[in-house]
């Protein structure tokens, strides 16, 4: 039993540590709130880094720390448990969370598709010389997505559907974006839904984009957003308001200053400078395109990723 007391002591210590970490949006002497944001270190979150550099957050008494998590699965629990005050996630994941009644809510826009076929930051690409030339050709093929049952496969299916193909026969396989260029090259998959900077790597190797799934899914599709726990929104509405304002300023600034975005990418990613200079940037509007989110919800329901439930947009969107 004594060993168990020791073991429990370790666990208790661990829990105590967690307790200390939670919800400590403590103020420092200058009155600034310490805020942790869980982000994925990809192109999409460039505005928050840029906004931090430009002082948009400190001007609103927010002392920002970015915590990088591997995907939304690590960030949502962090936000719910209070490890992070805010988090970044794609909308399909947020919709899934809503159907499960995860206590979170969107507070600011994250990133949006450019809405222009041929000039978006993500698309379905094939290798050089592939017989696939148009979205309808993707029917029955093997396509790589970074995460199964998420925004990638639902929007790709929509592309195929809109082009008159039958998406039912598509096999989706899960591959990290970074491995997609090699997987395409080696013929492990017929096509890959790939985003920047890996998209640049595919086109540099002679690959072609055959479908612009974000564009096909909805005009100016809102892809991802920043969110907070409902508890924080209830407890500290002021902080959330300031964060949203700072975030909106950052988004607007980033949208207007692509060169500075390319420069800030070098600070938190290891993307080669040449690639950085050439890659296609997404759009960073401040408003969430509600109808596009409705489309995502409809697509998700159609593909059965909500396990029969229907997401309630009023509960997840501001």
């Amino acid at each position: 039993m004594r060993r168990w007391i020791a073991g429990l002591a370790v666990l208790a210590l661990a829990a105590a540590g967690a307790g200390c970490g939670s919800g400590d949006a403590g103020k420092d002497s200058g009155g600034a709130d310490k805020v942790k944001v869980g982000v994925i270190p990809i192109v999409d979150v460039a505005p928050i880094y840029l906004g931090q550099q430009k002082g948009f957050f400190s001007a609103r008494r927010i002392e920002l720390t970015m915590e990088s998590g591997q995907g939304g699965a690590a960030i949502v629990p962090g936000v719910v448990s209070g490890q992070f005050q805010f988090g970044f996630s794609n909308l399909t994941s947020l919709l899934i969370a809503q159907t499960r009644n995860v206590p979170i809510k969107v507070v600011a826009n994250g990133v949006a598709s450019t809405g222009q076929a041929g000039k978006d930051f993500g698309g379905v690409a094939v290798r050089k010389g592939s017989p696939i030339t148009k979205p309808a050709d993707l029917a029955g093929k093997k396509i790589a997505v970074n995460t199964l049952k998420n925004i990638g496969d639902t929007t790709v299916r929509e592309s195929v559907r809109k082009a008159g193909g039958d998406p039912a026969g598509i096999t989706f396989v899960e591959i990290p974006f970074a491995n997609m260029p090699a997987a395409l090259e080696a013929g492990q998959v017929d096509a890959a839904w790939v985003v920047e900077p890996s998209l640049s790597a595919v086109t540099a190797a002679g690959g072609r984009v055959v479908a612009w799934n974000y564009v096909d899914a909805a005009p100016a599709l809102t892809v991802a957003a920043y969110f907070a726990s409902t508890k924080l929104i209830a407890d500290d509405a002021d902080l959330v308001e300031r964060f949203t304002a700072a975030m909106n300023e950052s988004l607007t600034y980033a949208d207007a200053h692509p060169d500075e975005v390319r420069a800030v990418l070098g600070s938190y990613t290891k993307i080669d400078p040449k690639v950085r200079a050439a890659l296609t940037l997404p759009k960073w509007p401040t408003t969430i395109n509600r109808s596009s989110v409705e489309t995502l919800a409809k697509l998700g329901a159609q593909d059965g990723i909500f396990a029969g439930a229907t997401p309630d947009l009023t509960k997840i969107l501001p």
Binding site: R3, E67, P176, A178, K270, I271
Partner: protein
């Protein structure tokens, strides 16, 4: 010594030659990996990541060793305790520490605590089990001698159990040190807690292959350094012990 280096040199040459001859795509040659390594070594972010990983490793190891040694001695010294806990130990020990990743994220998000939880869990069992073996290895004659001289329980622990268990404790620490590094990097890689693992993940998602390989080499070198250090410490502290003496003969 020359032989020892020849193996390494051969590997470096092979990695240089294969991609240059076009035999493997996606593997940067040694020279490019080394350049990337030099570039990384010039940044403070790199050293911060190494520091984070080593902090998680060291803290986790210390907690695991302290808990493992205390727990092992207590359980091992009291036969009844040993009998009652055996099944629980046997059940909890093989639970793969990666199964705890979701729990770690829940409790600590992507902070150091996540890494620590995984490291401590994995390393703790290595130490505990070795200490239990060690206590079981106590010479019955020595123990009976101690009892016949009416040693107090504390004196028995101090003069009979502990010296017998010490070599096992060191074996446990050595194994735990290696496992702790693996888990520290894994946690960082999979969860995204700060450290070398998360930098590797960033390098990978940025398509910076030479950097990714350079960082992998760094984790390997850290592991080698930890192994060598652990073995050196073991030899130094246990120079009197049979198993070490036997190893050094001839």
């Amino acid at each position: 010594m020359i032989l020892r280096l020849s193996g390494l040199a051969g590997l470096l040459l092979l990695v240089e030659a294969l991609p240059r001859l076009g035999l493997v795509a996606d593997l940067p040659p040694t020279s490019r990996i080394l350049t990337a390594l030099a570039d990384e070594a010039g940044t403070t972010a790199f050293w911060a990541a190494v520091g984070d990983t080593l902090t998680a490793w060291a803290l986790g190891l210390v907690i695991a060793v302290a808990a493992g040694v205390t727990g092992g001695l207590v359980i091992g010294a009291v036969p009844a305790l040993r009998a009652w806990t055996a099944s629980t130990v046997e059940f909890l020990r093989p639970i793969p520490s990666v199964a705890l990743i979701p729990l770690a994220v829940l409790l600590y998000g992507t902070s150091l605590g996540s890494t620590l939880l995984l490291v401590v869990y994995a390393a703790f069992w290595q130490v505990l089990v070795q200490v239990l073996y060690g206590v079981a290895d106590v010479d019955p004659v020595a123990d009976e001698t101690a009892r016949s001289f009416r040693f107090s329980p504390w004196a028995r622990l101090r003069h009979v159990l502990w010296p017998t268990a010490l070599p096992y404790v060191f074996t446990g620490i050595r194994l735990a040190a290696a496992v702790a590094l693996v888990l520290a990097v894994t946690a960082e890689l999979v969860i995204g807690a700060p450290g070398l693992g998360s930098v590797i993940a960033v390098a990978q998602s940025s398509g910076a292959l030479p950097t990714m390989y350079a960082l992998i080499v760094v984790t390997g070198l850290l592991g080698v350094a930890i192994n060598i250090g652990a073995r050196y410490a073991e030899r130094r502290f246990l120079s009197w012990h049979q198993s070490v003496r036997a190893e050094m003969a001839l």
